[in-house]
Every structure is written in C-alpha cells, then in structure tokens.
Symmetry: D2
Subunit: 470 residues, 4 copies
C-alpha cells in the first residue's frame, strides 16, 4: 500500500486506516561539555532534588541520557526524504550532575533592546539556582557585557526576596546596553570574579558574543559554562519554536492596530498605518495581522513591494478605500528599506556590525501615501494616521503565556549547566525543551516562509496583492 496516496477504497475504507513506512536514519546533534564533565571518570553529584523534604521525584522525573527531540516534526514521505532527520538532547533535570551546586557561582547578564519577559527569565534563573539546586552565589551583571569588566557596583548579589515580583515588571532590572564587547576584558573579568556559570540573555549579537566567550573558555581550558538565552521580540532566531516575549508583543500590537482601524473608519477615506517591530523578519506583523483581522495590507521584509503602477500598493489602497471607505496597513520596520531614498550620508553610514543603517519606514510611507493622494485625488478628503507603538509594546511585562515560557526556559538552562553542558542554548523544538549548540543558533535565521500557507493565510485575510510584477 502506498502511504503517499489517499488510502484506496477497501471494505471498511471509510474508517481510519494504518499504514507502515520506514524512516531514514537520524543524526543527534549534541552540545559541548565542560572539560570536567569529559574527565574520566566524570564527576557525579546526585541531584539535590532527590533529597527534597517535601517531594519525592518519581523515576520518570529525570531526563535520561537517551532522551532526544526531533527537529522536524513533519515531512513529505514522498520527497527525496527529510534526510537526515536531526535530533537534539532533551532539556530537563538529570539524576547526576557534573557540577557541584555548592561550588557554583553564577552570573546573569542582559544585552540589547528590551523584550517582555526579560525580568521573568532573570527571576527564574535566581529561583531555579537557589531553590532547586541550592546555589548560594548568584550575581546580576549590570548594563550588558561591559559590566563584566566594570566595577563592584556592576555585580549585584541576587536572592529570592529581591527578585520576588520581577516577573510583573517590564524591562530589565539589570539594565541593558548594546556593544561594549571586549572579549579579553570580559573573560578576564569572569575569571577574576570566580564565576563558574554565565547566563547571557540577548539577541543574535549577544549569541555571537557568547560563542566567542565559549571558545575563549575552551582555549584557556576553563571549567566555566556559558549558556545563551535568545531574546528577540521579533522572533528572528531560528531552530527554536519562538522567542520569549513574542506572544506578548503580538497581543499588545492589537491595541495599535485597533487604534489605527478606529482612526481610519472614523475619517472620510481614512488610512491607518502601523509600524511594528521586525528588522529582518515580519513575524510580529504577520501574527498581529492574523490575530486582528482589521488589517488590509501587511508589508514584511521577506516580500518586496512597490508603490506606483499596476499591482502596486497605491492601486490596492485606492480600490480598498473605494470599496470599504478606509484601509489599515501594517508595515514591519525592515520592509521597503530599498525603496526609501537615502542621502549620501545614509548610504555611507554603517551600524556596529557593518551593515547599512536602517531608515524609518513608517514616516516615509506615511508621507508617500499622503503625497500620492494629494497628487492623484486632490479634491477628495483624505486622512492618514500613523502609529509607532514600538516602545509601548516592548516595555510591558510578559503575559501569562510568556511568563510560563520564560520559567521553563530558565529552568532548562540551569538543568543543562548543572549536567555539565556548555556552549548551548535551551529552547522548545516542536514543543519539547531541548539543548542546541550555541554556534548553530547564532547563525540560524528565521524568516517568514512566504511559500508556506501561513503567509498565504495572511493573504486570504487581507486579500492583498503579491506585488509580483507581471
């Protein structure tokens, strides 16, 4: 029987059927370990949870060495094959630790822009380290990577009472900065202060920094572990299901879209324009559009668009306004960068990573839409209202969904470090918390798959054109 075809009509063919197929081999992509964990025999400290006064963990509580999670939860049996299937180590507590919690000294640091849930991750790292494992020395490093080589005021001892309500606060209590990455000074600072575990929370730049620190640890033969917790409200990190804070951002973005919609419908020929976060990917714009349903057009970095002429944005807007009386446009901040005229200065200017600087697509698009209407329809009333809710979105506390996610993420990180892993990222893969090599995550992109039917769903909701010039 051919599993790739509809089951043919047998005697009881209208009932569920079972068919058996053979799978290709599977590759386990494993994470690095501390030198101590690789020693022979490796250290084996019993997990202190086993001695918990109130709780007696059942045998299934601990993750076994063979527990893995699959990277691809779906594939086409008929295609050349999803070959090879890839798997990662499953995250969670181990029965035996490679690290003695009594000797551990942990440092937490946050880098880059704000994201809902940052403080929850910090809180849960403290709670997990101290309540689950009894680690006494937990420090917050202030103001990003540069805090490692800062003074004593940049190294704040954290404890349960101090972090109690952090999950209800937006932003990061530790403060955050960009840049300041000086590898030698950072690693010197870590060594000088005796840290044995580094938890670095930040975006792709932070992950690349963590890879460098990991390699420097290895080069110096240090028994210090580092784990990277990806923070990107844009959800532009690959391999893991989604980044923390993303659901909260989509939720709050609804308020901005609602406002734009109200402004548009309350005006004669009104256009509401909302810019949402997303430099390299349009996930927030896409999800916010699908959740809202009041959006007429969603522009993302992954899809080129154009303004004038047949199939262009203006033609579409005009038709929509004539049909419905108004229109709502959502634009991701990374969309249309190549359309915005740049001054010579702007052409030369580069950001810290050597990329060409971003221009603000929102005010530009607002102005272009206004000029177009004035030029083409000078006698008709028209209004365009522009909303940039960026900071009102990213500064809120995490919602319940993200708060729970941050907890599981933080605890996963701790369990991995205690098991002797290093140079890894914890994260859910198809719903299963797993450990992924830092260097894989640091280079993974996560663009919206515009060939997938989720993007098609946006089109089915908005009925917008595909901006494919014929």
């Amino acid at each position: 029987m051919d599993p790739t075809a509809p089951s043919s009509g047998g005697g009881d063919a209208t009932a569920p059927t079972n068919t058996t197929v053979t799978l290709p081999p599977l590759t386990l992509r494993d994470v690095p370990r501390l030198p101590a964990a690789l020693a022979s025999p490796p250290p084996a400290v019993p997990n202190p949870i086993s001695r918990h006064p109130y709780y007696h963990p059942p045998s299934t509580f601990y993750i076994s060495p063979g527990d893995i999670s699959l990277r691809h939860a779906f594939f086409d049996l008929a295609s050349a094959a999803p070959s090879p299937l890839v798997a990662y180590r499953r995250a969670g507590p181990r029965r035996d630790l490679a690290v003695d919690p009594a000797c551990a000294r942990a440092a937490l640091v946050t880098c880059g822009g704000l994201c809902p849930g940052l403080n929850t991750v910090l809180r849960e790292l403290v709670v997990g380290l101290q309540e689950l494992y009894g680690v006494r020395d937990v420090f917050g490093v202030a103001a990003g990577y540069r805090g490692f080589y800062g003074g004593d005021e940049d190294h704040v001892r954290l404890h349960l009472a101090a972090v109690d309500d952090w999950h209800k606060k937006g932003g990061t209590v530790l403060k955050t900065t960009r840049g300041g990455f000086d590898l030698a000074k950072i690693v010197d600072g870590i060594v000088a202060r005796g840290y044995t575990q580094i938890y670095a929370i930040g975006g792709d730049g932070t992950m690349r920094g963590a890879v460098a620190i990991f390699q420097e640890f290895k080069r110096r033969g240090l028994n210090i572990s580092i784990t990277g917790i990806p923070k990107t409200v844009d959800n532009d990190i690959g391999i893991i299901d989604r980044s923390f804070g993303f659901q909260t951002a989509v939720e709050i973005a609804q308020q901005a879209i609602d406002a734009a919609h109200v402004e548009a419908v309350s005006a004669v020929n009104g256009v509401g324009l909302v810019k949402l976060m997303g430099r390299s990917t349009g996930h927030i714009a896409l999800h916010a559009t699908l959740s809202s349903r009041d959006v007429d057009c969603c522009l993302i970095p992954e899809v080129d668009f154009y303004l004038e002429g047949k199939g262009g944005l203006f033609e579409f807007l005009y038709e929509r306004i004539k049909k419905k009386g108004h229109a709502v446009v959502v634009v991701a901040e990374g969309a249309g960068q190549e359309l915005i005229p740049r001054t010579d200065d702007q052409k030369r200017e580069q950001d810290e990573s050597g990329n060409i600087v971003f221009l603000d697509v929102g005010p530009w698009l607002k102005s272009e839409i206004g000029r177009w209407w004035k030029r083409e329809h000078p006698d008709e009333l028209f209004t365009v209202k522009y909303i940039d809710p960026t900071y009102m979105i990213r500064a809120v506390p995490a919602n319940a969904t993200d708060n729970l996610y941050c907890t599981l993420l933080a605890h996963s990180a701790i369990h991995g470090v205690m098991a002797g892993f290093t140079g890894f990222v914890p994260g859910p893969i198809n719903g299963t918390y797993s450990y992924i090599p830092l260097e894989d995550v640091a280079v993974a992109k996560n663009p919206v798959d515009v060939n997938d039917h989720k993007w098609a769903w946006v089109r089915s909701v908005t009925n917008q054109p595909d901006f494919v010039k014929s």
Copy 2:
C-alpha cells in the same frame, strides 16, 4: 559511539558533535474519506485558490499526499523504543479537491459550555468557506445539536459582513446548549436540509456525538462529511497540543489569583482561595500557578490530597502562614471530589452521562479551612477569601494567541473537508496542524502528567507537599 551516553571526550569533544542512529518503523494513522472520494476515479476539482486574482500560490503552497506529522516529537533512544512511531496526515490546502465548493452546503454548530474563541472559529469557518473556496451556502445551527431538528429559525444563513467582528466577542453568537442528542432526528434533519458538510464544535460529549453521526452517515451511505473541532477550556482533550481558549483562560485566571493574593497579604493570617476550571484535569490550575508565582499550593484532580495530619494541607498552610504571613491556594474544580461528604441524594444523583455529579469544591474547602483555624487557633485572627472566577474567565473574547490558533484550526478543518476527508478532527500536533480520526480524539484523555517535570516545576514554585502519606 553510543548515542545514549554523554559523548566521550574526543579531540574536539567540547564542540558540538553528530551521532547517527536508526529509527523504528512509522505507522501512518489515516482519516476516513467520503464515499465519493473513494470512488474510482475519484472526483478532482482544482482548488479555486489557484485561480485567485491577486495571489499565485507557489508550488510549496499545497500539501502533498505524502505530507505527514509525527505524534511523538521526543523519545528515549535507550528505551524499548517509542515503537511504533505514529504519524498523521498534515493539514492544509490540497491542489485537487474531492468536493465541488459550488455544490457545498455547510452547517456550523456549537455545543456545551462557553470557551474563549468560539466565535472566532465560527467567523473563520465562514470566512474560509466563502473567501477561500467560494461556498455560498453556509448556515449556523442554533442552540446545539438539537437545532438540527429545530425549525427554520434555528438555521441562520451566515455571510462575511454578518460575522465581521465576531472574533472580538465572547460566548457564541449561535447560542449553545447541552444534551438534546437524538441521532436519528439529527441525521434526518441534516439530510432534509441538504447539508453536505457539518462542523461540530464542542467538548468530549460533542465529539462522541460526532462519531455517532459519522457512523450513521456511513451506514446510510451518505456523501456528507463531518469534522469535530474540540472545544474544552480545560484542555482535557488528548493527542492535540492544546485546545483553543486555554491560553486566554490562563491569562484571565491571573486576575483572580492576583486578587486572592492581595486579599491574603492585606489580612492578618490571610488565605486566598481560587477555584479554577478543570473537572478531570488540572491544566488551567497548573499553568495559572506557574504563570503567577503567587500561589502557595495548587490542588488538581490528578493528585489526591488530604486535609488533616502530618503532610496534610492544614499543616502546610499553617507553616506557610507562620513563615510568610499569608497563603494562596488554587484548587481545580475536579480536585478533592472524594473528600467532600455527600448526602444520600448526592450519592445517587448522576449527570446525563451516568457519572456521579460533581460537588463544588470551592465553598467546601473554604468552610473546612475556616473551621480548622477556628478549632485549632481560636485566639488568632484569620481570614479566608474565596474567589470563583469561572464565568468571568470563560466568557471573554479570545486573546491574540488564541485568535490566531482558532483561525488556523478553522481553515485546517475546511481544507480537510474539501479534500474529501470526514470523521476527523483538525489540530496541532507538536506545532504541526494535522488530521486525526474523530474516534481517536473522542476517547483520548489528557491528564496532567504528574510524573513529568512540568508538574515538578509547580512544586518547585510552590514547594507544596506531595500528599503521599508515609
């Protein structure tokens, strides 16, 4: 090299490593098809999306016949094996339909209690049927299954303008009832009105009803498809990742826990008690506890507990109150049923399904706690405040996360029906929308796995006892 053991220390052993293993065979669990779809040759209507004026679907847009999703996204390589691996058909649009949308006549029905997102599912079924497939005849059947054999006023024609803002409304515009399941009358009514597609949204009882209707269709040889969309705010349906409305419920439950916490901390020896939904499972209580972190004890149906004596609830509460000055308890409605004294009447009483009736654990527990304190600590001030937020939780509109989920669920259902599938449930499995035989879902349970470390996380958050009498 043994993949089940930590990778041994090779030359570059502190870097990521790859290991290859062989997987057991995989069984595809397929869904039934309409008689027409099983005919030879089967009908083949091109998907109308291919003729969309604005949008030209790429080749990857359609789901191919070999596209499957895996039920188990993680397993233990060392164990006897996750054998056999099970897969389902992936949900999504097919290039060729087995159903001609021009001849389709769809009926939507909602049964059972309210759940955030009900109206979004209804809206998106209408939008998907009419915008994506051009189905003209879409009807809402009022007041649950009994509406099928009701009068004309129970069959309301639905169209895009009518449903436009339904996703912003709580409850169900179609109205819902319990019971009224009369198989013959229902199927007679369906045939009499010429419906060719039934979308039944409801709980486990509704799913069992849908199985019976499916089998009756088969017995009568009818070319009518039925799909069940599981609605259970408790998340007590198995196989699929979670049910719609669940995330919203956990979010709103935070308000009740916050209030209980404020009441408790503002009193001398204050206890805040919150009852949350969950008759057979404690998912909402568990997730709400993990998201909130202000909860001192979480009681769920899956874990027996007792009040008096060593290791009991009262002892724990007393210690917690003495330590922190207050305590917050969350109890799922199905917890402790066997502890509540029943009158003879209550012992005899049975619900529609022949089960013993549920007693209200909230007021009972509140009263027991009050009596215990008065008896044991008559000279000390004490306050217990009880909150039952059930209707304030289940009557809200879906949040952004659930709204998006409802959209994908509704569209998945339509794509499956149009492909000629019947007797199935659409739903995400490890994040991939799939089709599952209705009869499998109707019998699947989804208890909280109290051996898993997610439950252990609750304990790590609350440090509550495990109520295992020694």
Copy 3:
C-alpha cells in the same frame, strides 16, 4: 423679572439673559482645632514650601482664612429656600502652620475591608509629610486600630523609597482588620509612642472610632490631631462627592456584567446575575448599570422589590426573555434582605455593631429564579449564571482617576493637620477639597436618591418596573 419663570419674550429674548436675585445667609461649619492652635498667641511656623529651592509659590498658592466651599451647588430659587446655605473651610496649604513639622510624629492606620486606592493614600501621606513638610517620623500602624496597642512589629517606619510603587498595588501594605477597638488602650498606645498626628483610613465604623479618639484627646487635653479619611468602596459616606476607589470599582464591575451578558446571550433563555457591593446603598450597582447598558434590571437596597405576581421581578424577566432571548440582572448585596428567609439562628445572629447579619442575596436569588422557571416553564430550556466579582473588584489597584483623587485627599489631610485642625475629614464637595467635622461625616448617610432623575435614568436604560404594588 421673575427668575423662577422662563424669561419672557423681550426684544432680544432669544439671546442669553441675565437676572439678579438675592441669596439667603450662609453658615460656615468649621472644624475643631488643637489646643495649641487655640492658644493666644497661637504658634505660627512658616510653611516650609515657601523655602523650596526649586519652587517659589505665588501669592495665590496658599489658602486664605476666608476661603470656603459651598455645600449646595444647586437649589430651587422658588422653594422655601436652601436655607441656610452651608459652607466648609477650603482645604489646601496655609502660609502659616500651627504645627512644627520638625516635631511632628505621624501614624497611619487602615481598618476594615479592602478598597482600591488604599495604598495610594498611604503612599501620598508619606510623600506629602516628608517631601512637602519635611516630617521625618512617619509610621505605619499594622492591622487596624488594634495595632496601636500592639508590639513594636506593628509600628513600621515609612520613608519615600519604601512606598515608591505602592500606588500600583491593590490592598493595603499595612494590613487591615475589623474590630479591636479599645479606646483606652488605643489612646494610651498613641501617647506612649509619642505620635502627634493620626491618619485613620477606614469605613463608617472607623470614622466613629476616630470621633471617640478625638474626644478622648480633647478630654485628656492632648495636642494630638486626628483626621479620618473615609474609605468605602460602596460610596456610602455622605457630604463628600464620592469616596476613593469607587470609580475603579465601577470600572472593574463592567467585566463582571460583560461576562454575565455573554453567558446570557449565548444560552437559550439565559439569565446572567451579578452581585455587586453595596450593603446600605446601591451606588456601585447604579453606576455600573448606567455605564454598561447591558443590564435589564438593577436591584438596590433603596428600592424594595418582590418576585411573584403582577409587576414583580419574575413577570418582568419572563417578558424580557421572550422579547430579547435573555436578561441580565444586577443586584446590590444589600437588596432584598427582607425577602430572604432566615433560620432562627440567623434571626438571632448580630454583627459586631448589633445589626442583624446580612444574608447572601446572590445565591438565594439565583436559586429562586431557577426554581421559578422550572416550576412555571418546565419544558423550556433555561440557564441562570451567577457571578460574584466582589474580591476581584476591591483588590485591584486604583485607576488613574482614583489615584489622582487619593493624592489630593492625602495632601489635603496633611495641610489641614499642619494648620492645626483636628477631628476633621478632608474631601471634595462639589469638586472643591474641603474640611468637614469628623462627627458630621460619621453620621452622614449617602443613599441613592430614588426620587432624583439619576435613578430615573437607570429606569430609562433598563425599563424595569418600579415594584410599586398597585
């Protein structure tokens, strides 16, 4: 020209006109003063705000001795007269103080049930005392009046940093209790700890207690001032415009009414029943009904109602359900007390003040409605859903409107105390913050005026009967 008649048609009679009338005399109702303030010559300490480094108060900044506010902002010129007109001293900072802030020692206490804004009042008392006047010794007294004769742990020193985010917290950080009023022990405790200013925040019982303390101070000839800040979420305190937390309560009550409305419209013959706070007055029920507009019937303590027979609640509900398919009922907790059957125990039982105990009108009414339908319409589907949002309403933080109100209230209290006033209540009268004798407020009631057209508005919104048996 007769001002009491419509202006007659003169030359330009369609334009605005001016008419002059004579007013009756006005009585200034003044508040008591500390013995020291009555001494001759009284002390005169310059207000430290005059020496503020950043701010140079203009001459109009200070309240002058002749500044008064009118109690009646409207009256009928034709009636016997609003005679006499009553006025109070206007609240605000005085140029000269009767109290030296450097020697002041303030105690803050909260009594009774929770109310949104309690923590804001506390915060602003601390901020105002320390920032505006430089008072160093400010103490929070824990757990209500009984804290005055409690141990050291019941007297917590408060300062700016400690109270910084209190206005964002529900409940009361100081904890609150009922009862425990022992006059001699309280005043002894106050004297023993050297307090010179008492700020008592609580309900009518607390105000009566404050009057007793004030009189005991007077009897003992103590230079200690006491001010009462009325806290009643029910808004059942007279003379002042409204009590703090009331607007927040009305706002949050909308959520409960929305939920009841959704439950009702989603059922066949559905009734949603919401119990709102209000023992002696129905202000919250009235305002919530007017704000919501989804309510079909609003029952308050000021209006008797009956269930059965012509013009009764059941007849009205039946008609409304037949007309609209559902109905929403809001009942204040003090409504219908005389209708609920009492056991002999309940007839005997009295609360601390010797009043007959309140029975819970919500479950009783829910059950009566259910029994009525089952009896009268046994073959028709019916659902009644009952919501009691009490603790979810009163435990939230104050909204912006109430937060601002609490600030002005707290600062008004401080200014009055510093001016040497005592035995007074600060509060807005027709929008002007004023000082009112404590004993006047302690006995003032604030029932809903059911002869006024605001109550008539409720009827115009709900069209409910007036339950006047003919």
Copy 4:
C-alpha cells in the same frame, strides 16, 4: 465673630462651630429659547415620561423653573467678593415641554478629531430621543458640518438596534472631518431636510460654528434648536467641569508613561520622553503626571521653559539622572512652541483659523536632548526613548466613568431641547448638570491655573524647577 479668621478659643472651641455670613447677590445667566417657546401663551406638551407604563415619576423627578446651579462653588469671604455670583439653569427633564416630540426631527453631527466617548454620546442621544421622548426621526449626519449639504447617503436614519453597542466602540460611527463650514449651505440643508433639532458635537471651532448657525436660525426666525456638546480630549473648554473622554485619555496615557519609565530605568542614563495631547492647555499632561508618579518633569503650554543654563531643563535632567539613574519627561504638544526653530515656510504657514501652525515638539525635544548629552557628556552612555501615544489614546472606547458622563450629557441636551432651549451647551458645573449659553462656552478658555496648588502638586511630585530665570 470674624468668619475669615480661625475661630477663637471659646469654651468648647475644639468642637465644630457655626458662623453666619451674608452673601453678595447672584446673577442667573440664562440660555435662549425658541421663538415658539417665547410665544404667548407658549406651547405646553406634557412630558411623555409621565405616561410611562412601568415608571411613575415622583414630584421631585422634574426640574422646576427655579432650579439653578452656582458657577463658583468656593470663594474667599475676605476678598473683594466673588461678585457677582453667577448661576445657570439646572439641566434635567421638565414637566412641560415646549416641543412636541411627535413632530421633532433630530440631526446629530460629529466634527473634528476623535475623542473617547463620541459614540456613547451619539448612542445616548438616539436612546434618549426615542426611548424617553418617543422621537421617531433621528438622523446621523456623516462627515461633519459638510454633511448637512451632502447627499442622501450623508443622512443616515438611526434607531435603537443600530446603536446598541456603539458605546463599546472607539472613534465615531458617523465619521468626522474638519472644516467644510459654509453657513448658508448648512442652514439651507437643515431647512430642506426639515430638521428641528441639531446636536453638534465637536471642539471649540465646532462650538463657534454652532453659534453662527444659532444666530442664522434667529435671523431667519426658524423654530429650530441647536445645542453644542463640547468634545475636547484636551479638556480645554471652560465653564464646565471637564470634557468627556478626558478621564479615559488620562487613564490610557499611563500606559505610555509606564513604557517610557521602563525604557528609562532599563538603560544606563536613560531618558523616557512622552508627548501627550494638549495644544493650548496641559491638563492631560498634568493629570497623567499626578496619576503616574513616575514622571520627573512635566512641560505644559502654560509654563515657559528653557533648555540650557542654570535652572534649565538640561541642568535638571542631568542632576536627576545622576541621582536616580534615569528620568522621565512628559511634554504637552503645545509646550515649547516658541523654542522650536521655524523655517521661513513654517513662519508663514497658517492653519484654517489663521493661527501659526504647530510644530511637533516631541521629535524636536528628543533630538535636542540627544545632542546636548553627546556634546556635554560624550563618554557616558546615554539613551533617550520617545513615545507619541496620541492615536492610541484618543481612539479607545470611553471607560466606565466617561461612559456614564456621556449618558448624562446626552440626556441633559435632549431635556433642554425639549424644554424649548436653544443655543446652549449642557455640562456639569461643580457636579451639577446645567445649561450654559453656547456663545459663553465658545469663547471660554480653560488653561491650567499655574498659581493654583494643583499645579503646585505636580511640582511637589516631580520637584521640577519653575523655569523662572533669576
């Protein structure tokens, strides 16, 4: 006894005292009437509420001809006198109408920018006209004043079912525009369509337009009444207590200030800058600052400020940042206009009313702050985040407080029109709903009184300088 002095120490001087004083005469400022209402004898139609089937209004229900409200609820007895005291007619239902509801034909129009509550006012005008008075012909005029001379599609018949949920929607269902005021065409249109009652909802420009329409009615001798309902989210209309939507705006502004605060505290030397609505007045900025308490500096149009030098903004910010690590600034949109450099074009440009155009203070101030720090402290990290929440504030639905206010406002307007009044504005004066001549309201300003202690409270909260150059 001198009422202007503290009561001297008599026998029982520490108890409340009463003193009697004489008041100056009072002027009643009356509103115009329709020619028909001035006829002799005037028409007298009994109020239909008297024949309500369910409700029997008590004698106190109706407003009597002598019912007035006082403009000044407080004054200084010692000063030259609040002379003369001014009063207005009290709003509310009259026993006898000058207008026959059966012949009435009402038109509602909204002009200018959005404001929370617009749709509630519209809804309640429809509900009040139809439910209370039985007016059948109620029309919404689309798109502002120009709709009066538009086509049939601009005149939409409104009824109860259509407006049922409008109070839960932001914006205005009628759509709104600016300008388009052509007196002759408007009045011709009104006459042509037979409207007898005009309800114009808008800002000060709309009120001035309503005055012109009122005078044109008078000139033509028409029996058409016009009432103006002031809509200004800025609260910049005088005489009345506050404008609708204002409380909602202050509430939502908290979200923006919270976000700015989180951004500021999460950065090293972070500044959060929020621009709030308020062209000529700083009420929103002032109230939002007082409610929030996280603001370090509040800049409003009524107070000049400067950036550089001693006592300037930069000096203050630097000190605050050094002390607290961050600072939050709120700026009203009308503040600092004279500081922003204008191009020659901008100097010439005028708005529709001939005023110089407003420049956007937000981006200018953000940029100035950034340049200042870079220039003065180039080696120190610095971040300034700017938030403009304007449209997210003004597009939300009214909160409960404003919803109730809008109801009372709309019903007051109707009662006045039915009594034969015209050329008036309904509104609360010291809490009493009253009728005020349109022409008085059209010219009244409502600046923040910076000599009052409410503004001083802002300073006491922020401790900001008074920008008085010495």
